[in-house]
Amino acid sequence: MTSPAVPIERPTDWRGLAARLAAPVGAVLAVAVMVLSLGFLADPDGPQNALIGLYNALGLTGQAEALAQEGLDPILSKAIIAVVGLAIGVGGIWLIYIGAHSVLELLGPRWLSRLVPWVFIGPALLLVGVFLVFPSITTIITSFTEGDGFIANFGFVFTDADMLIALRNNALWLVLVTGGSVIIGLVIASLVDRVRAEALAKTFIFLPLAISMAGAAVIWRFVYAWQPPQEAQIGLLNAGWTALGNEPVPWLQTPGVNTFLLILIMVWLQTGFAMVVLSAAIKGIPSEVIEAARCDGAGESRIFFRVIVPMIRGSIIVVATTIAVAVLKVFDIVYVTTGGRFETEVVANRMFNEMFLFRDLGRASALAVILFLAVIPIMIINIRNLRRQGIGA
C-alpha cells in the first residue's frame, strides 16, 4: 500500500465552496423573482404589459403597438396568470424551503438543527397569522370601536327585530340540522350495514356533499317552485300539495315554513357526512359484543339503543360538533334562496349584508364575534368529551 505522493489540490476546495454557495445564492435569487412576480400576478394587465415589453425588447414594435391597441385575449391573459401563479406557488415555495435549508447548512450543523423547524413551519405560521390570527384580533377590536362603538354594535344585535329573527333562526338551524343529520345519518348507517349494495347506496346519500351550497340552493328552489294556481305546478312540492287538493303555496315566501324548508336543504347536504362517520364507528364495534347481547335475548331495537349508540357515543359527539360548527357559518343557502327576506335571516347572511349592503363594518364585526362566541361552548363540550375518553390533552 503506497500513500499518495501528491497532496490534495487546493482548487478543489474552491470548487466545493462554489458548489455550496450556489444553492443559497440561487435561493435568494428565486425569492427575489418570486416577490417581483407577485406584483405581476396581482395586476390583471400584467400578462399584456409583459408581452408588450417582450415584443419591444425583441424589436417587434409593430406587434407591440397592435397588442396595446387590441388588448390581450382575456382568456389567454387569465391562463398566463394561472400558469405563472401555479409555477410560483409550487416551484417558488419549494425553492424557499430548499434555499433556506441550504443557507442554514452553510451556517453549520448546530444552527441547522436549531433553526430548521422554523423554516419548515415558518410559511404556515406566517399565512395562518396573516389570514386568521391577526384578522380575528382586529375584528374583535373593530366590533368594539367602529361605528357607534361597542354598545351600539352589540346592542343592535340583541334588540333589532330582524336580528332577533336571525338569532332565533340560527338556534333552529343549529338544533334541527345537527339533530336531523345525526339521527337520519345514524339510522341509515345502521340499516345500510346489512345490505349487499351498501357502497352504492351510501354513495347516493353521500353525493350531495360534493355539491356547492349555491347549487343545492338552486336544486331546492326548483323543488319549492311556485306557479299561479291556474298554471301547471313544476315544483315537486307544490305538485304533490295540489294533487292533494290544496292551493299551491309560494313556500319560500311564506314565513314560518320557509326557514324549515331551508334547514331541510342543509340536512340533505350533511346527512351523508354523518352517515359515513357513524357507519365506520358501527363497523368498529366488535361483533362479539353484539352477538353477546343477542344471546342475552336483546331484540334489534334494544341492541341499537343500549349497545350500539352508547358505544359510538364519541363519534356521535364529534359528528354533531362538526355539523354544528358548519351550520353556524352557513351563508350560501340563505343568500341564494331568499337573501334573508321573508323572515329567513341567519347571522352569517346578515353579516354579509351589513358589510356590503349597509356598509356598517362595526356591526358586521360584532356579528362575526357572535358567531365566534357561539362556537366556543360547542368546542368546550367536545374537548370535555375527548378528555373523558382519555384521548388528547
Partner: protein, 300 residues
Amino acid sequence: MTERALPATLTEAGPSPGSRWLGYLGVRVAIVFIVFLWSLPTAGLLISSLRDSDALVETGWWDAVLHPFESAQQWTLANYATTLGAEGMGEAFVNSIIVTVPATVIPITIAAFAAYAFAWMRFPGRTVLFAIVVGLLVVPLQMSLVPILRLYGNLDLNGTFLGVWLAHTGFGLPLAIFLLYNFISQLPKDLLESAFIDGASHLTVFMRLILPLSIPALAAFAIFQFLWVWNDLLVALVYLGVSSDVAVMPARLNELVGTRGDQWHILTAAAFVTMVVPLIVFLALQRYFVRGILTGSVKG
C-alpha cells in the same frame, strides 16, 4: 366446571326464518326509498336542464320521465349552449379552474412541511403552536373578512386571483396541517431513525420518505380543499366579486338566480354545470375522501 342454566330467552332470541326474511326485505325497501328520496331533487334538476324552455313550464319534469318519447317533451341540449355562452357560465368555469387549482396545490405543500415539523422535530413552543393551529380550525371564516378586505384594499389585491389563492391557502391551512399531522405522526419511527443514522437531513427525509408515504393523506386533503374551493361562494364574492372576468361559478350561478330567477331552463343547466367537476372528482376519488373524513373526525 359448573353447569349453568341457559337463559330461558335464548331459545326465543333468534327470530324465526320467516320474520328474519321479512325484516331483511323491510331494510331493503327502506334503503331503496331513502336513496330514491335523496336523489330525487338532483334528478329533477338534471332532467329539467335537458328539456326545452316551453316544455319545462308546461309540465313537471316527472312527466318527461313517465312519457319520455312523446313529442311534447322536447329534449334539447340548447340550454347548456345558452348557459355556457350567453349566460357566462363558460367563462365562470374557466375562472373556477384558475382559482381552484393553485388554491388546492399551494396549501398542500406548505401544510406538509409544517405537519412534518410538528410531528417529528423537537423545538421550543411546539405544543403551544400546534394547539393554536388546531384551535384555529373552528374560528369562523367570517372573523377574517373585514380586516382582510381592508388589507387587500391597501395592497390592491381585491378582485385578483392572487388575493383569492392566498386567502384560500390561509383559511385551508389549519385543516390541512391537522389532517397531515394525524397521518405523518403515525409513520413508523424506525424508518425515520435509520434514515437519520445514514446521515440524511430533515429536508431529504421529508422529500424522499415522508412525501411518498403520505400520498393517501395528501390526496384526501387535496379532495377536501378542491371541493371546498370549487364550491365556495363567500370568499369568492368578498375578494373576487361578480364581474364576469373573475367571477367563479357559484357566484355566477347566484347572479343568474337574481336575473333569471324564473327561467328554469337556464338555472337548471347552470346549476348542473357547476356540479359536474366536483361530482366527477368525488366519484372517482371517493375512497380517499372518506378516509380523509374518518382520520379528521373520528380520531380528532
